[in-house]
Amino acid sequence: MTRRAFLGYALLALCSFKTLLGCGRSRTADTIERINVMMRHMVGVEDRDVALFRPAESGLESQKTAWYGEIADYVVRHYADQVGVDYERFFTQAANHQVKNPTVSFALDMMRADAITAFYTSPEGWRIAGYQGPPVKSTWVHFILRKTVYPSCNLPCHALIDRMSSKHQDD
């Protein structure tokens, strides 16, 4: 083995070792965490511990990590002081179309749509909106309760009674 090959293998092993230890993922994980923090501020739920962004591995979804990461970095770079990141100031400027960075303005609407959709399709979001939620899965329990205790209940969950025979058996 030549010295050059040895150094090459050694470097590869070091990289693999770092990856195994989680060091290789740290930058991406940091980015995703920054995106999530920003998304929580974006929909005004910074008091909630919810993950609104879970990057997918393919197509546009994987590209989003880069775009959203750039927005999150931009906000940290330009709107942070000793107290922290001033998201409200950024969002006020964004709402008034005063953010000049082209990548940020390009992807901001997409990021907002993703954040809102992720949050308001979750039970956490439904609670904030005051929505009673979509049908629950424990249909039989509900059905029996409706038959016995709550005959006047008209929640859509009862719609599911017909579905137990096929779809949910497939699940």
Binding site: V43, I116, Y120, A129, Q132, H158, D162, S166
Partner: protein, 547 residues
């Protein structure tokens, strides 16, 4: 599938086709229905129990691209009628809103089961506009009643629509939103009453009543909405003589030497295999766009301008919806995302009244949250403005307080509003697409303005509301009530079919869908009238021809 023979072949399984098929099967006929869409399984295909249900439409992915709208500029001087809640295009093009599947567009309709008022059948002789129908309300009344029983219609009698007996089911209660608006209406001397709906208000014929999930447009999972696949076709299929073949498209109608339909060329859209179906009678029930498209495409010797088109009226007189809706917020949350979709309607303006300055009627209705803004995510995404805490507070405060009041009117039949075959563009099966050229005129815009003004007055009288914006047919076409492209009439020179939906030109070819309607019923929804005409025509077929 090998070539097959039937007593009747029906193309399309929607409002008209399902009724005709079932009636003929009950009379002993062997019937085949070709349906280009899927047979949807509510258990498998509808999404109410899924987390992102509000962004999943089971029907849209399965609607084939068969229709091109021709862009045109709406009449100038009416910019205040533009939609403000969506980006408003400068040019307007026909958009055909429908569903394809066993049950047709009844799969996604909101269950409105309206009779047309008696005067709607004689607009020409009473008001000097449009055309008269070759049938009267009195002739249709018993068939209306029979359809209402089959569908389990829930409603409240109204003097505008004379009837011999009450509706089979009591009306649905008004939603809290509609109750508020009804108070405003009563201050103006108007009456907002319960809508007439093919949605069960109580258990009926082994079917469950509505649970008020408001999901009619995304497919009813309970089975309380009387779509054709739930309330009509199973009755016919139970006879063993009615066979529905989904995912099969009819591509051409063939005549024999005597000028009768001999067969229909069909194509299995899954396998791509073509086959011929022979039948003694053929009924077209594919809707006001697809039916004339097939007739025009089937031009052949004796009919160079398209089948059954010696009048030259196939594809002409297309009427779409003239609607305008105001979206607003109540000052309190009223759970507007629940209930039947369009729970109330106001009929005070449905009768044409020349004294109003414009002699054409319209209906006003209240619908709580519209279907595309029903869930919290859609509301937060499209209605709640901005970012951050302000956004969240808006959702917290106003979701469930949003509602819409809208007006819907008929569009007069005009030969210029027409579809032809698009010689440069074909559908996935090689048939030329429909090229639909419909334009609004000053009359349509005046109607829009009139309806907008009345809706605004009602909101003012209701009080405690904040206007968010409007949707309008002025710039955005969403034709759910397209009718008129093969109108019925007494004389073959000015109509395509006779009073029993039989083509004047071809004795064993029938049309039973919205195409045959000469006018649009003053803003009432057309599905019940389509079904009623189909029932009456199928009874005539059964009694004349036997098996």
């Amino acid at each position: 599938m090998r070539d097959a023979e039937y007593d009747a072949l029906i193309i399309g399984s929607g409002a008209g086709g399902s009724v005709a098929a079932t009636r003929l099967a009950l009379a002993g006929w062997k019937v085949l229905v070709l349906e280009q869409g899927l047979r949807f399984d509510p258990a498998r295909d509808y999404h109410l129990d899924e987390r992102d249900w509000e962004f999943k439409d089971p029907f849209v992915p399965h609607i084939p691209d068969t229709c091109n709208g021709v862009p045109s500029r709406p009449p100038s001087g009416f910019d205040h009628l533009r939609s403000t809640l969506e980006s408003s295009p400068s040019l307007r093009a026909f958009h055909y809103a429908r569903a394809c599947g066993v049950g047709g567009s009844t799969l996604r309709y909101q269950g409105e089961a309206h009779r047309f008022p008696p005067y709607a059948f004689s607009m020409k002789s009473r008001y000097g506009m449009d055309v008269d129908w070759p049938v009267t309300y009195e002739e249709l009344a018993p068939f209306y009643a029979e359809m209402e029983v089959r569908l389990g219609v829930a409603g409240e009698s109204h003097p505008l629509f004379p009837r011999a007996s009450p509706y089979p089911n009591p009306p649905h209660p008004l939603s809290p939103a509609s109750r508020r608006i009804a108070v405003g209406c009563s201050r103006m001397g108007l009456h907002l009453g319960p809508n007439t709906l093919a949605i069960l208000s109580r258990p009926y014929r082994n079917r469950r009543p509505c649970v008020y999930c408001k999901m009619c447009c995304r497919g009813c999972m309970v089975g309380d909405k009387s779509s054709a696949d739930v309330a009509i076709l199973p009755v016919g299929e139970k006879t063993g003589r009615l066979h529905v073949r989904p995912q099969t498209v009819a591509t051409r109608i063939k005549l024999n030497k005597t000028g009768r339909v001999s067969s229909v060329l069909a194509l299995d859209t899954e396998t791509g295999q073509e086959f011929l179906v022979r039948a003694d009678a053929v009924i077209l029930s594919a809707g006001a766009i697809e039916t004339p498209r097939l007739l025009l495409h089937s031009a052949q010797s004796g009919f160079p301008q398209g089948l059954a088109n010696r009048s030259g009226l196939v594809g002409k007189n297309l009427m779409e919806n003239i609607y305008i809706g105001l979206l607003f917020l109540f000052d309190e949350k009223l759970e507007t995302y629940k209930g039947v979709p369009i729970d109330s309607r106001l009929l005070d303006f449905v009768k044409p009244d020349p004294d109003r300055g414009f002699p054409r009627g319209f209906v006003i209705a209240s619908m709580g949250a519209p279907d595309y803004l029903q869930g919290p995510a859609a509301f937060a995404l499209w209605i709640a403005p901005g970012y951050g805490r302000a956004h969240r507070q808006f959702v917290e405060k106003h979701y469930g307080a949003h509602a819409m009041i809208y007006g819907i009117a008929e569009q007069g039949p005009r030969e210029g509003n027409a579809l032809t075959l698009d010689s440069e563009d074909k559908d996935p099966w090689g048939v030329p697409k429909a090229r639909v050229d419909t334009r609004l005129n000053i009359e349509d815009c005046t109607l829009l303005e009139l309806m907008r003004r009345q809706c605004s007055h009602i909101l003012e009288a209701t009080g405690g509301t904040t206007l968010l914006g409007q949707y309008s047919a002025y710039d955005i076409s969403r034709a759910t009530h397209a009718v008129g492209t093969a109108r019925m009439g007494t004389h073959e020179e000015d109509s395509v079919v006779d009073t029993f939906c039989r083509c004047h030109d071809i004795p064993n070819l029938y049309i039973m869908d919205g195409s045959v309607l000469p006018t649009q019923g003053c803003g009432c929804s057309p599905s019940l009238t389509i079904q009623t005409l189909a029932l009456r025509a199928a009874e005539k077929m059964a009694s004349c021809h036997g098996v």
